[in-house]
Structure formats: C-alpha cells, structure tokens
Assembly symmetry: C2
Homo-oligomer: 298 residues x 2
C-alpha cells in the first residue's frame, strides 16, 4: 500500500516511521529544507533510549497529487486551511484520514466531495527532536472512524499495520472526538495557564475545584449522556500522565501557536449556538490567547 | 501626640518613619528580634536614592497597653485576629486606626466597644528591605474615615501630620474601602495569576476582556451607582502603575501569604449572601489560593 503523510511535525514523523514498516510512505512537508533532510537522513525514531531509522521519500506539499491509496493529514488544525485548499484542487483522487484535535475541522471536511474521508484520534505521546527525528514517549492507540467512506477500507488498513503501532475502529467519529475534546479542553488550558504538570490538577485542591467547574460548563454545552464516565476519563488521564507537561503548556513554553482555537474556540461557538453561558471557558480561552500574544507565538 | 503603630511590615515602618517627625512614635512588632533591631538601628527610609533615619521606641505587641492617643494597626487582614484579641483584652484605652485592605475587617471592628475606631486606606507604594528599612517607591495619600468616633479628632491629627506624608478625610468609610477593593480585586489576582506588570492588563486585548468581565461580576455583587467612574478608576491605576508589580504578584513571587481572602474571599461571601453567581471571581480565588499552596506560602 502507498501511503502519503502530510505534515512533518511530531505526529507526521511518528506515523511515517511506523507505517513505512508495512507500506511505502511518502511524506509531504511544508518546507523544501525538511524534505531534503529526510531524503538524505531518513527518519529517526527514539523509543526508550533506542534509536531506529527508516528511509522514506519526502516531497513538499506542492508535489502532492493525491495518488496514494491513503493520505494521512497530520498538520495542526490551525494549519489545515492551507492543506484543504491544496486537497480540494486535487479532489477525487483518494482516501483522506484527518488526525486533528478538537472538532472545528469536521465542518469543512464535510464539504469535501468525491473523497472518502476518515477521522482519527491519536493517543500517542511524541515530540519532534529535529526535522528528521521524533521521540515516541507515550505509546497509545490511534482510533479511527468513518466520516464519509467504507469501514471495510479501515479494517483492511488496520490488518496491514505494524503490531507495535495499534489502531482501533470506533463506530461514531463524533463520540470519539468529543471524548478527547473533553479531556483536552480541561487539562490543556489549565496546565498551560498555571504552568504545571497534569497531575497537579488533581493534587492541588484549589485546581481540582476549577477542573470540576470547567467540566460542568463543558457538560452544559455538550449535553452528553453518561457524564460521570467522561469525568472519570479526565481524572484517569491526569493520573496516567501526572508527570507530563501537556501539549498546550509545551506550546506556550516554546512560543508556538497553541490549539486553543480548535479546542476552547470550538466550545465557545457551540455555547453561542446553544445559548449557554460559558464564563470559565471564555476566561481560559482569553488567558491562553493573551499569554501567547504576550510571549509572541510564532 | 503619642502614636502607637502595631506591625513592623512595610506600612508599619513607613508610617513610623513619617509620623515620628511631628509626634512620638512607639512601634509594636510581632518578634522581639525586630524590636531589638529597631531600638538599636532606628528606622531607615529610602526615597529616590536618598536614605533618611529616625529613632523610635520599639516593643513587642505583648507590651501594648493602648495608652497612646492613637494606635495605628498596620498588619495584614489575615493577621488581624491575633491583634484584635490583644486589643479587646485592653479595650477602652484609646483611639484605633485600621489600615487593612479589603472589607472583611469591618464586621469584627464593629463589635469593638468603648474605643473610637477609624478606618484608613493607604495609597502609598512601599516595600520592606529589612527589619528596619523601608523603600517608599510610590507617594500617594492616606484616606481616613470614621467608623465609630469623632471627625474632629481626625482633623486635629491631620493638622499635625508632616507635609510630605498627606492625609485626607473621607465622609463614608464604606465607599472609600469599596473604591480600593474594586481596583484591588481586579488588578491583584489577574497580575498574580498571569505574572505580569499592571499595565499589561490594558495593553493585551485578551487580558483586557477578562478585566472587563471581572469588573462586570464585581458590579453584579456590589450593585454600585456610577459604575463607569469605578471602571475609569481601575484603568487609571493600571495606567499610572503600568510598570509596577502588584502586591499580590510580589507576595506570590516571594512565597508569602496573599490578601486574596480579604479581597476576593470577601466578594464571594457577599455574592453568596446576595444570591449572585460569580464564576470568574471564584476561579481567580482558587487560582491564587492554588498557586500559593503549590509554592508553599509561609
């Protein structure tokens, strides 16, 4: 199987490394510089002190024609509009899998015609060390669901994927994304504003009160069934990743753009549509945006 | 006039230095160590690169008998209960002037019988450099009002105070304290959580939105007339002290207890009494309390 991967960030490099074991991967990067480096050096994966290499073809996004059997779009949601312009120019060519956080990308994806569209939710931890190197510091699973296409293709794809990089199929893409959104919407902004590791939100009784109040606001907006299960999931992630710095905290620390628009921005839009007050979500949205502005995000 | 000053913090030292020019000051400190140092070295005031000294008598609070014509209580609100126990043991002895921030001290002060009670609001900037030294880095005014006593005494006191350390009389102690509370309740917690100087709250459009929302919540609780004047006052203080770090930010940075209970804690009690929702004030209350707990306030 030929697989195209759009984006040379941590998730792009991680997927390129693993999927190249059982398929032929081409990675499409934003810069020609990164493509050149990958063509020369390959991709290096660091996992528990071990270094492993693989060689893939790298091109810039301009060269993408949609001729691979599957193209996996790994860029952040705030970079997606550029990629979608490119994709719609070549539409009808193939299957697309989108791995963005949040929910904001679903609306534009529904407008893409003539393509099979799949949605993914990544539970791996990874960070990019350089243009060609990624550290896989948290092994998880990648959940896949159909937005517009055949589940048979996903089953076939999973059967050919490497054992050490598991995928599962979820029936409902909305539920799958919402589960991750609830976790991200609470842990990411709180840790980013407070500059603390994830576990601190449960350990500190004052932070825990804010966590619970944020959760209540989310539930007022999303009106989900079985709310206690979602709350337990938030606590479980805090516990399991107690010593981790969240992605949003790391983005803030490294003066990078955060995913706050994809996460809290989406929730604020939903709150407005549903006529629900969301004072905490609004406050944390502006706290994160303000900190980014102050620090001068790239 | 004999004046007693309870508390050897920045405000205690500042008032002791200036008032000793036209009166005889005795300062009452918490520790015997500080009293000894002051008796040996006097009090040093730093103002715009100039150092000035004055000699006052220093004793520990245990020695206070309330025999001065006026005793000025300069301790923070969270230390007040200890001082009030001492005062009520010696009640009936004299006039008391309380300089605490917030509003939480008014209720216990109303219970003190047989004393004339005055309330003050300090607009000076000062920080303590050592047990005997204070820097006067912002010259302002001290506003005085009657809680239970004679305005004639305040007028007499002011007529004898030094020219470079001005006092004014306010008719209404509640309005006087509320004005400062509104400013403190917004600027202090926001700057403490965000770790920014006061001016950043106006400069950063996202922080400014939070500032405005906090103000709206305060107005829902306090139900004040002429709200636009209070809002202008908040902005004026942000502007005039743009390069300053607020007292709460400095308390957080130096791992000291903050005045958040006296300020936001009071507002949360008022909100509950009046049945008003205060999600932002509650959130910033717990953010500040949580940061203090995490940092281990002394």
């Amino acid at each position: 199987m030929n697989i195209g991967i759009i984006g040379g960030g941590s998730i792009g490099l991680l997927f390129a490394y693993y999927l190249n074991q059982n398929a032929t991967v081409t990675i499409y990067t934003r810069t020609a510089e990164q493509a050149e480096k990958i063509n020369t050096d390959g991709i290096c994966l660091k996992y528990k002190e071990h270094l492993q290499h693989t060689y893939v073809t790298a091109k810039t996004l301009d060269s993408w024609l949609g001729q691979d059997e599957l193209t996996i779009v790994t860029v952040k949601q705030y970079q997606l509009s550029t990629v979608l312009k490119k994709i719609s120019g070549a539409s009808g060519y193939g299957r697309l899998l989108f791995l963005q956080n949040g929910m904001g990308h679903i609306k534009p994806l529904k407008k893409i015609k003539n393509n099979e569209i799949y949605i993914g939710s990544v539970e791996h931890g990874a960070y990019r060390d350089s243009a060609t190197s990624v550290t896989h510091n948290g092994v998880g699973v990648t959940r896949l669901a159909v937005l517009n296409g055949e589940i048979a293709f996903l089953k076939d794809f999973i059967s050919k994927s490497p054992n050490l990089f598991p995928f599962t199929i979820e029936e409902n893409y909305y539920e799958m994304l919402i589960k991750k959104l609830v976790v991200n919407a609470i842990i990411n902004p709180l840790t980013a504003v407070l500059r603390v590791r994830n576990g601190e939100l449960m350990k500190n009784p004052h932070y825990y009160i804010i966590l619970k109040n944020m959760f209540q606001e989310l539930m007022m907006i999303l009106k989900l069934d079985r709310q206690d299960q979602y709350f337990e999931q938030v606590l479980k992630v805090c516990e399991n990743t107690a010593n981790n710095r969240s992605s949003m905290l790391k983005d803030i620390e490294h003066h990078r753009e955060t995913e706050v628009d994809a996460i809290l921005g989406y929730l604020l839009e939903e709150a407005e549509i549903k006529g629900v007050q969301a004072p905490l979500i609004q406050t944390f949205y502006h706290l994160v945006k303000g900190i980014s502005l102050q620090k001068g995000a790239d």
